[in-house]
Amino acid sequence: MTLAQVIEPLGSAPSHAPVGFQIVALTILAVFLVLTITAGLFKKVTRGEAAFWGVVWIAAAVAIVRYDWTMVVARMLGIGRGADLLLYGSVGVMLVGFMMVYVRLRRLRREITLITRHLALNEAQRGPSFEKQKN
């Protein structure tokens, strides 16, 4: 495949006005981006996580506005259609998202165990063997 074939779909932006789907999706992505930046600034997530999700939202917005560009990337990756690229990309992003949620869940479980242990140690009921020791 020649370079000309790869970049052939690149051209001016689609001339028609944004359709309803694009407006709704871009609005949602804008909200996500603002939330991500806010979470990053207030250190609710690490900078790395905020950067990752920021890039994901911006890439999604670009793909919605310039959906013809996805064809270029798809061809470079040998996928064929831009729609397929978006599908595979979405699955990949979802898997990463699931993994991040799972890691957080594990951390939460660990914290629950530590709290449970702390309570158990504090409230240890002393049995006869320890009473005997004290005497």
Partner: protein
Amino acid sequence: MAADAVFVVIPAYNEGQAIEAVVGRLRSTCENIIVVDDGSDDATAAVAARAGATVLRHVINRGQGAALQTGIEFALSQGAQCIVTFDADGQHRVEDIAALIAPIQRGDADIVLGSRFLNSSAKSVPAGRRFTLRLAVWFSRIVNRIKVTDTHNGLRAFSRRAAQRIDLKLDRMAHASELLDQISESRLRYCEVPVQIHYTDYSQAKGQSALGAFRIVLHYILGKVLP
């Protein structure tokens, strides 16, 4: 080592039926018995306390690994010099404890692992369980890089030094493999001694199924690769 420096830690979850007999048998030889009731729905805690054990209670179920770690930390806080872990379902023999703590008392080992495959009683291990445990042994040789004959035997003994170094973070049954990892990494001296497992319908019903074994491996691997 004085007898009162040896502490027995028993993690227990819904063991109301068996715990009284287990604690009762242990009291004939051990002074310090700690039962960690891991959020049981039944009267495990009350029965164990009545039988003479010191009872610690997890307000919610956190798994055997978490219960063991709680019991070990409590025993250390009480000045334990040697800590024995013992299953609550009655499958271990009190008589094996003396052989288990002997290498620690002699200063020959930091951790002593009970093995059901080092004596003639190995024949009493049910075939399915034996197969799963053999796979676990090979798994531990490859992954944990430790050569033992019985990886999931709950009867173990730790010196105080070893117990202070061990920190079980895998809450559920995968703690057994995690423990082998920590033994291997911390270069604690370990040995195995033969112990006998008394299989009953009750203890077998409480044991791990093949699916359970698969889940243990999965939890262990996720525990290794994820933060």
